[in-house]
Each structure stands twice: as C-alpha cells, then as structure tokens.
C-alpha cells in the first residue's frame, strides 16, 4: 500500500504531476491517495523529500504444505567446515526424520565445490553451492542474495544458522527479507507434526525459559550456538560410493544474475587473529563469578585452572567490571561451553549463565548461598566459602603432584 509521511511532505505537488492515474490530490493541505492508485511507484521516484512510501507490510500467513525441508547454512573458513555446521546438520537430520522432510545445505564461498561432497557424508540430501570469486570473503549483501535465492529454490520449512559472526549477520537479514520469524540462540529444538518448530531459549533477561513458535509464516529461522547440539553422525565412504549422476543430483551448482552480484561492501583486508584457545574448546574450566571480591583474587582461579590443566572463565558482571576479557565470558552474551569438568566458584547461576554450560559432563559448584540456583544445575554442590576452599584444594592437588613425582 502507498502511504505518505505527512511531516516530510512540503506539498510541492511533484507526485501529483507524476501520477499517471490521477490518484493523488491535495486536500486540506495534505496529499491524499485515492483508490485509483495502482502502486506503480512512479511518484516515489519523483518526490524530492522522499515522503512517499510503498509499505509492503508484514506477510503473515503461509501455506505450510508449500514449505518442505530443513536448510542448514554451512559455514566454513576457507573450505574448512565450521564444527557448528555439523552440529546443525545433526539436529536437521533429527527434525527432518520426524516430519519426513529432506535436509539441505547452502554452501557459499570461492573454490569450495569439491568440498561440498564432504557434507554428503553427514546425511545431507542436497547441497546448494554458490561458488564464485566474489564470495571469497563474507559480505552480508552478496551472501544474503545467495541465501535468498536458495530459499526461493528449495522452499524449506526450517532454516538453521550457526550463531557465529557470519550467522548472526545473515539470519536477521534473511528472516526480515522473508517477513518471517527468527529465534536466536535456541538451546532446544523440536518439531510438531504440522512442521512448527519448537524453539526453546532463555528469555526476557530473567530466570526463565520460553518456548517460541513461528506459527503462521515460513520459513522458520533459528540460530544455535556452537557446542549446543550433538554433531551429525559421519557415514564412512558415503560420498565415494555415489555415481557421478547421483552426485550431480545431490550437489546443485547455483549462479546469481549479475544484478545480484553487485556489492556495496568492500573488504580491504583480512587479518588473521592470534590463535587463542577458546573456552568453547576447553576440556576443563574453572569459572569465577561475583563471589570474588577483588580482581587480584582471580589469581586463585588461575592457579586452580593451571593445576588442572584447564582454563579460567567468568560471568558477565566480571567482564563488565573489566576484571576479565570478553573472550572469557560464559553466558548468553558470551560463549557456550561443554567441557568434561567445570568448577564454578562464587557463581549464583542466572539462567543466562547456566543455559550456556549445563550440558557439561561434570559440574561442581562452590557457593556460600545454599539457595543459589547454580546448585540446581550442578552435579555436586558445595555450600561454603570459595576463599577457604580454593587454596586448600590447590594445596591438596599440589601435594598429590609431589607424591606422584616421588
């Protein structure tokens, strides 16, 4: 529908002159649009104040039977598949099997066509490959165009994207382009018989979980963080056994028209970052929270972590206080972890924190408040003062090391 921002309109009359249908008039010092408007949009171009607007509104009802499949955005770093992709494929396989939908991947990059075969070994039914030198670096506009093209071709019911730097940039762009729903950082995904995706995530910034559905539009977008879902099973030698014609059926090479390959974004330089071991990959984590009274007390945490051969991590208040870098933060606004062991010290356990560590194999919690919610997430809860316990525990471990050394 055509509409007017009256406060931007200076009644210059350009639109009225331009309208081929005589649909515009000035009445009571306002431009009025009559039913004669055919939405040709000529007036939009003529208005010097950009006061006219063709609002598409929000599309809301979709015929669900027209949308079938689970599409996974396959992220990679120069051809190396990002592990979150395999986790998303694992979930997509499970969802797809439940409602009898195929599993698709979209793979965008340069010189990656050969690599696409690798994904077939994880049970993906079809891969849409966009391989072009213009896709060498991530550029939101070109990648969005490819993604849009793929969705229009494959019409998936569900689209899963990793909550990475690239995924977080693309998913809201695409969900908005299709005027549909997006749920970020889902911790649990399931599907109803009618193909509605059940999306569960911590919500409202409070200590509460929400179950969210996109019930009347398609596709349904969800982002999931690394280390939240189980990796897809690898089927040995699957792609090697396929014939050439089977491969060409499963891997579709896609091209965009020239008009969709023009970018407003220019990548001048890409610099590798110093490789730091991410807490997401740590096997053992010792984490500290507001129970620490001073920045220098975090040395206890460091010592404990180094004795166990693990890493330290913190909660958001400590990052906000400047006591630790953002890369050390566990939580919704930080990282998700799934180590063999995590010891939380002086952490009360808001859901934003626990949702990002509660799949750890062994959780030991130390806190002086016996009602702290962290004890609900912990396998072993210790009600006590971390300032007493940590030094004694360090001593104990050191003694053992000495005993072992002798």
């Amino acid at each position: 529908m055509l509409s007017i921002n009256h406060n931007r309109c200076d009644l210059c009359g350009e639109c009225i002159k331009a309208c081929p249908f005589g649909a515009l008039t000035i009445k009571d010092e306002r431009v009025e649009i009559s039913a004669a408007c055919r939405m040709c949009r000529i007036c939009l171009k003529k208005c010097p104040n950009k006061a006219l607007l063709a609002a598409d509104g929000i599309r809301k009802t979709a015929d669900k039977s027209n949308w079938k499949g689970v599409l996974v955005f396959a992220e990679h770093m120069e051809g190396r598949i990002h592990p979150v992709t395999l986790e998303l494929i694992g979930k997509a396989n499970e969802l797809g099997a439940k409602i009898d939908h195929p599993v698709y991947c979209i793979f965008i990059g340069h010189g990656i066509t050969e690599k696409a075969r690798e994904l077939l070994n994880y049970g993906v039914d079809k891969i849409f490959v966009y391989d072009h030198e213009e896709f060498a670096c991530f550029r939101e506009d070109l990648y969005s165009n490819a993604f849009e093209d793929c969705i229009k071709k494959s019409k998936p019911s569900i689209v899963l994207v990793g909550a990475t730097a690239v995924g977080r940039s693309l998913a809201p762009r695409l969900s908005t382009r299709f005027r549909t729903g997006l749920t970020a950082d889902c911790t649990v995904l399931d599907v109803k018989e009618n193909s509605d995706l059940i999306q569960i995530r911590p919500a409202f910034g409070g200590n509460i979980m929400a179950q969210i559905v996109t019930e009347s539009s398609r596709p349904q977008f969800a982002t999931v963080r690394y280390k939240v879902m189980e990796k897809a099973r690898f089927i040995d030698n699957f792609s090697e056994k396929l014939t050439a014609s089977e491969i060409s059926e499963k891997i579709e090479i896609c091209r965009l028209p020239g008009s969709k390959m023009k970018s407003k974004i220019e990548i001048l330089k890409v610099m590798p970052k110093e490789k730091e071991v991410s807490i997401s990959d740590a096997e053992i984590i010792v984490a500290g929270g507001r129970g620490f009274k001073d920045k220098k007390d975090l040395e206890m945490l460091e010592e404990m972590a180094s004795l166990l051969g693990g890493q330290t991590a913190v909660t958001r208040p400590l990052v906000e206080a400047g006591w630790a870098p953002y890369t050390k933060q566990i939580g919704l606004s930080g990282r998700t972890v799934r180590p063999r062991l995590i010891i939380t010290c002086g952490i009360s356990g808001a859901v934003q924190f626990t949702a990002c560590m509660n799949t750890s194999e062994c959780i030991i919690a130390i806190n002086n408040d016996k009602n702290a919610p962290i004890f609900q997430a912990a396998h072993y809860g210790f009600i006590g003062d971390l300032y007493e316990i940590l030094p004694l525990l360090c001593d104990e471990i050191r003694k053992r090391e000495i005993r072992n050394a002798v």
């Binding site: 529908m1 509409s3 921002n5 406060n7 931007r8 509104g57 929000i58 770093m77 939101e140 730097a165 977080r168 940039s169 693309l170 809201p172 969900s175 005027r179 729903g181 997006l182 749920t183 970020a184 059940i198 999306q199 911590p202 409202f204 910034g205 409070g206 509460i208 979980m209 179950q211 559905v213 996109t214 539009s217 407003k264 974004i265 990548i267 001048l268 330089k269 890409v270 610099m271 970052k273 053992i284 004795l307 906000e320 606004s333 063999r340 808001a350 859901v351 509660n358 062994c362 919610p373 609900q376 997430a377 396998h379 072993y380 009600i383 007493e388 316990i389 940590l390 004694l392 471990i397």
Partner: protein, 262 residues
C-alpha cells in the same frame, strides 16, 4: 553528515520477574538504565561528528519513561532525540520492532550512518540492527570494534569475525553495530545536563507513521509467538555437601580423583 543512533532502555538488573500466568514481564519497581552497548554506539557517533561535523539523532522505542535514555544521550552530546511510543507497538518481536524503527526513521528523515549497539543486555540477540538495515534497504556490518576512516562518502571499519579481523569499507547510507572495544564512552556531563534540560524529546506514535495498518506493529506484527514459559531444567541427581573448608576441599579433591581429573 546525519548520524542516527538507536538506543534502548533495559532493566537495571537481570533479576526480572515474569508473571507465569500471562508471560508478561513484571517491570514495575525495577530500576532501568541505558543498554550498556548503546553507550559505545553514542560515543562512536560523537567521535565521528568531531571529525565530519553534522548532527546526531538518537531514537528509542518503548513506554514514555524510556525517554530517560534520550535525556542521557543529550547529556553525552547528542543533538536531537525521538521516542517511538504507542500501545500498538507493544509485544513486538525482532520483525515488528525493526519494522517500527524503520517506519519511525523514515518519518524523521534521511541518515548517512546508523549506529546500534552490538546487542542488548535484556534480549541478548543482536538481531534488530541487521533486520532494520534490511527494512531500510541499506548494507550493514556487525561487531565493529574500530573505525579506521570516515569521509564524506564512506566509512571504513574494523570488524571482529571471531577467527579474523576484517577491514571493511561501506558507502553511505549504511548501518553498523559496535562492540565494546571501540571506544571508552564519556560520562554524561553536568554542564550538558543543564544546557539540555529544556531540550524536548520528540514523541512519535502510530499516527505519525506512514504505514497505517495496525496489524504490522506490536504483537500482531510479530512472526514469533511465546507459547509458554517455564523455569529452567534442573539437574535432578545433584549431591550437596556442607561443612568446613577442610572437609569440603577434601571432598572436591576426591571427586576429581574419582573422575580421573587429577
């Protein structure tokens, strides 16, 4: 240069209660503040204006008390501010929020550069920025941690890509979301507070927007729906220990040995 900053008022603490019957936030009596990431967006805008000149407009969406964050933005040096406030905007998800913002921004004017914080501390999703860029049909870059260069036609930024850093040039109009490392935000100044005391926060409602279809805003314009809310899962087989520091540290040690950690 016309710069726009999108800001939001968030709860001062994350201990927010939710009414389990209705799923509505109980915000009454809870202190509120400006989303911390937005301070960095404002600071970035101020530094760009120092170089290029121009004006900075701040916009927010929310109930009328949310104009406090615009007042705070004035105290940091922002020139103009708007609040989009209407009952019909309530209950908006990403899609409806970014749509409402885009309608409000189109009603105000043209902007070269739009800045947003990386994410909010109450929603934590960081989705509204890119979604808004899509509605405004302009390119965006998220997670900007440095500004390399600003000129009349374009901005060159340093983007954090987790495993690498990219130097990216965007021509106007465009939208960026900024991360905390970008610049230390200045404190609101008392002098500016006095000076801007009478500066109004312009209020815009549904009636000021071009799209007059109520169904496109708020809850009815949202594509996602919260079906139910529930307390987080708890781990049922947890074992609790109490006692002196010695006893507890010994017990933790035994668990570490049992699990072959030490």
């Amino acid at each position: 240069m016309n710069i726009l900053v999108c800001i939001k008022q968030v709860p001062g603490t994350n201990k927010v209660e939710v009414d389990e019957e209705t799923g509505v936030l109980k915000r009454d009596g809870v202190s509120s503040k400006m989303n911390p990431y937005d301070l960095y967006a404002i600071e970035t805008a101020l530094r760009i204006r120092e170089k290029t000149g121009g004006t900075i407009t701040a916009v927010t969406m929310g109930p009328s008390q949310a104009q406090d964050v615009i007042k705070e933005a004035y105290m940091m040096g922002v020139d103009e501010g708007y609040i989009f406030s209407d009952r019909r905007f309530a209950g908006a998800d990403v899609l409806a929020t970014s749509y409402t913002l885009s309608m409000g921004i189109r009603a105000i004017g043209e902007f070269d550069l739009i800045l947003c914080g990386k994410q909010t501390t109450d929603g934590d999703t960081g989705q509204v920025g890119p979604a808004l860029a899509e509605y405004l049909e302009i390119p965006h870059v998220i997670w900007v941690k440095g500004i390399e260069e600003v000129d009349e036609n374009s901005i060159t930024v340093e983007q954090d890509m987790a495993d690498c850093t990219a130097i990216v040039r965007l021509s106007y109009p465009c939208l960026i979301t900024v991360d905390k490392d970008i610049a230390q935000p200045r404190l609101p100044s008392y002098k500016k507070k006095l000076k801007t005391r009478n500066r109004p926060v312009k209020i815009m409602s549904f009636d000021d927007f071009a799209d007059k279809n109520e169904d496109n805003y708020g809850l009815s314009g949202s594509a996602t729906k919260v079906e139910r809310i529930f307390p987080p899962d708890s781990n049922d087989d947890h074992i609790m220990f109490e006692g002196t520091g010695e006893k507890l540290s010994r017990e933790i040690y035994d668990i570490l040995v049992k699990n072959k950690i030490v």
